[in-house]
Symmetry: C2
Subunit: 343 residues, 2 copies
DNA sequence: TTGAAAGCGCTAACAT
DNA sequence: ATGTTAGCGCTTTCAA
């Protein structure tokens, strides 16, 4: 691949502007110590010639490329169907715009295999930092990247390593709010359906569920609690094993699961929200459309992505995790409007 | 961002192996002129130390980064919902794996705006080549990138510039096959619904439609032809203005449009395929599920992506466009099974 | 077959 | 405020 034949160097720009290469460099990097007259002259030449500095040379001397990697534990086409990643990548893109960075996506099927590309390329000082998304097996990945001494941000996943930067949402408080909302609406038998224990965010949400019950002085009843895959099918399976007569509300810890719960309940003639009220968790833009509309805990995924980039971009030594707040979006499935209506 | 504190250089590896920096470089780049004994010794040290060459330095001296850009004329989250891009990116990822490259996605909202990132970063010699996806406005983009003297591959879009590399599918032949199939099944009034003229692939598919009619000695009847947005809504609108009595088959030039056509026909009590047979175009993995299943022209989008990378990776001077063949996937909507049944 | 030396284009410390 | 100089880590002639 040939370079642009008209490729210019700092030296040549300097010659044209009648200054040294250093002065041009200073103009380029907005150093204050340049006379405005000279600055203008140099800028004119740069404009004229369409000169752009060579990034490789910059990277070599500054050991920064402006490139960040996005490591995801999925196949690339799997990733594309998922509203969560969609929102996250959108945020990362916005963050990159904010900070003048470029991101590359590294799908990793497992800790082995194509992840070699990752170690090969990422470790070679070509990528300034890495954003790692959550996943059951992300811990091993994180430690491998840590071993490479890479600047690292983990999103949507608690990590043991205190040195690792982290952005996440208030899973626990979010679920607590959801359950409190149901209790406040007068529901007394509130169940929980969520992902199995390997999904740490699910555990956090379950903790929030228990918090809200405890705060209201209610007992936790295992009969009303199910763990399954965080998918529509998982939600369906989970709901199918709960007796409709046992519950009058369920907090479903992911919206895809809530879709399955809706289906199961509807099939069995259970009315939502009249018989069983539902509050989900996710609230993604491209998430499910249900009838009645789903009341759900909205997690700001796009903001998470944006913050992750900001964390990577700022060399700040702080490793405090950034935990973003969730909010409750009221729809028809929790019965809030009926509640107002009936009283 | 600090570099790995244990960062090694060629020089240091050389010292440890008792050779010069040049020899290590030769080993690294598989030069033949190294004694196998020395080669082994050097390799051992590299293995031991976990040394990896600095990519920025390599890029500076070789003017190659191994990075390619994927320029898309969409918002990044729009892109994520789309099965076409999903398949394309999958192919590009496979291609990158083949050739040891990394790709970055550059969403471009329009020829202005964030595309500055594009000119800024891409033009700066940081990216070896660019894959540009089709779009109504991609021509301007292509010429801008051409002006930057970038190695360029355009996918899914005819281009005027003969110097631009191109990968596409046989749109015209694909649609001709679809229409011939319908005619062979005994349909006599075959309509066409496709995207409006700014989508060049649509025009090609329409040409294929006309080819098949001409080959069968049939007339083109404007009453049976509609152009609309290549979306479900567009397909719905288009079908709604065709009188069911006028047609006994329709070739719908994109699968999303076919979904709209199904809906419109079904609403009006038209039976598929009994009254009107349908053949679509796209056949993407994550495409629509219909009942009866859609007979459609399958375009190998993943292969397109993979080929695009191959074209970028090979410095071959050939600029011949690569046009991949399509295939017809028989489902229930064309009536092929009924046909066999009834005769 | 190997080493020495030059230089890719840039930044930054140092000198003026 | 500006120029000079010394590298960054690598590849690649050119000598030996």
């Amino acid at each position: 691949m040939t370079q642009n034949s008209t490729d210019l160097t700092l030296e040549q720009i300097g010659k044209q502007a009648g200054v040294s290469r250093s002065t041009v460099s200073r103009v380029l990097n907005d150093h204050p110590d340049v006379r405005s007259e000279v600055r203008a002259r140099v800028k004119a030449v740069i404009e004229d010639t369409g000169y752009m500095p060579n990034q490789a040379a910059r990277a070599l001397v500054s050991s920064r490329t402006g490139l960040i990697g996005l490591v995801m534990l999925t196949e690339v086409d799997e990733l594309f169907g998922d509203p969560y990643y969609s929102a996250l990548v959108k945020g990362i893109q916005l963050g990159c715009l904010d900070h003048g960075l470029i991101f590359s996506i590294f799908p990793v099927h497992g800790p082995e295999g194509p992840s070699d590309v990752l170690t090969t390329q990422i470790a070679q000082g070509f990528i300034d930092g890495v954003i790692v998304t959550a996943g059951p097996r992300s811990d091993r990945l994180v430690s491998r990247l840590r071993a490479r001494n890479k600047r690292l941000v983990v999103v949507g996943h608690p990590v043991d390593d205190v040195d690792v930067l982290r952005v996440d949402v208030e899973n626990r408080a979010g679920s607590a709010t959801a359950v409190k909302h149901l209790l406040d609406l007068g529901r007394s038998r509130v169940g929980f359906i969520g992902p199995s224990a390997e999904y740490l965010y699910g555990t956090e949400r379950f903790d929030g569920y228990k918090d809200a019950l405890a705060a209201a002085g209610r007992e936790v009843d295992d009969v009303l609690i199910r763990f399954e895959d965080p998918t529509t099918e998982g939600g369906y399976r989970a709901a199918s094993t709960i007796l409709p007569g046992d519950v009058d509300a369920i907090h479903v810890a992911t919206d895809p699961m809530a879709v399955g719960v809706f289906r199961s309940l509807t099939e069995r003639g259970v009315r939502i929200p009249h018989d069983v009220a539902i509050v989900g968790f996710d609230g993604l833009d491209r998430g499910p459309q249900l009838e009645p509309s789903l009341t759900t805990v909205v997690q700001p995924v796009t903001e998470v992505g944006r913050m992750a980039v900001a964390l990577l971009a700022n060399d700040s030594p702080s490793t405090e995790p950034i935990i973003l707040p969730t909010s409750l979006r009221i729809g028809g499935s929790c019965g809030a409007s009926d509640f107002l209506h009936n009283r």
